[in-house]
Symmetry: C2
Subunit: 162 residues, 2 copies
């Protein structure tokens, strides 16, 4: 008989094996609940929300509840040490705004999400679904979750737990 | 012949396989260069360093160059919105101080590091080596690297790249 077992133990094949498994994990199966604020939320209130909700990234919704922007701890820190009144400045002013946000879809793989996180140097991605209403020329996006570095670190631990 | 190939394809065994591989990755092989500041560095200068060095966690050294503490973006954000003068307050006042820091050694596995990151809800761990000088009753620690969530996310991507 062919030594097929060896096939799985040889370097490249083992790695292909792991790679295939990792690429099966979908965003929709591991996404977490995003913490959201409104565009008119003050920077101060956003920072308080960050601490109360124990999160690293805030997602900003417009008046209709669609994704408008993303705010990171560093965005908030930059404003906090600046000269603006953080009680008056709304997060809508300082957020990264659509379409400049790096996003991911529920059917994408966590591998794709992790690649985007690394390439674009962000902590978290919103998981979005496009919603095109009648008469609209551009899509709006509903936020249905988030994928974060914490998320991926937890998956890494779970893969090692067996 | 025994159908040994099937062994590797059966659910639990595949997972054991991945788990074993993951547990072989050592901290010393993937650790990154930590960004360090001194205990007397002002909170303002620490924040500037955070942006200039494009990092998320600062490690604080004492006068002898041993690890004294760790400062996160959230630690800095908390102080930045408070009433203290961030130009005058040194990071030594606000940092998490040894022995309350979660650490990892170069010979530990990245799996162990990832577990600590998840369990203790931190972004980064200093990689340390204990140094006991003659006459000392307690160990001092030299910081030789860091393991971060970014780090682990990159490993996850590499595992999927094959």
């Amino acid at each position: 008989a062919r030594p097929r077992v060896g096939y799985f133990y040889s370097g490249k094949s083992v790695m292909n094996f792991i790679s295939e498994y990792i690429k099966k994990i979908k965003v929709k199966d591991v996404k977490r609940v995003p913490v959201v604020v409104q565009e008119n939320t003050s920077v101060y209130d956003a920072i308080v929300t960050l601490f109360l909700e124990d999160t690293g990234t805030l997602f900003v919704m417009d008046e209709e509840g669609y994704l408008a922007g993303v705010v990171s701890r560093k965005d908030l820190l930059k404003i906090a040490i600046g000269n603006m009144d953080i009680h008056k400045v709304p997060v809508g002013i300082i957020m990264t705004r659509m379409p400049n946000i790096i996003t991911v879809g529920p059917e994408d793989t966590v591998y794709q999400a992790a690649k985007k996180i690394v390439e674009h140097e962000v902590d978290a991605l919103p998981v979005i679904i496009p919603v095109k209403k009648e008469g609209d020329t551009t899509s709006k996006y509903k936020i249905v979750g988030k994928i974060t570095k914490t998320n991926i670190t937890k998956i890494f631990v779970e893969l090692g737990n067996y």
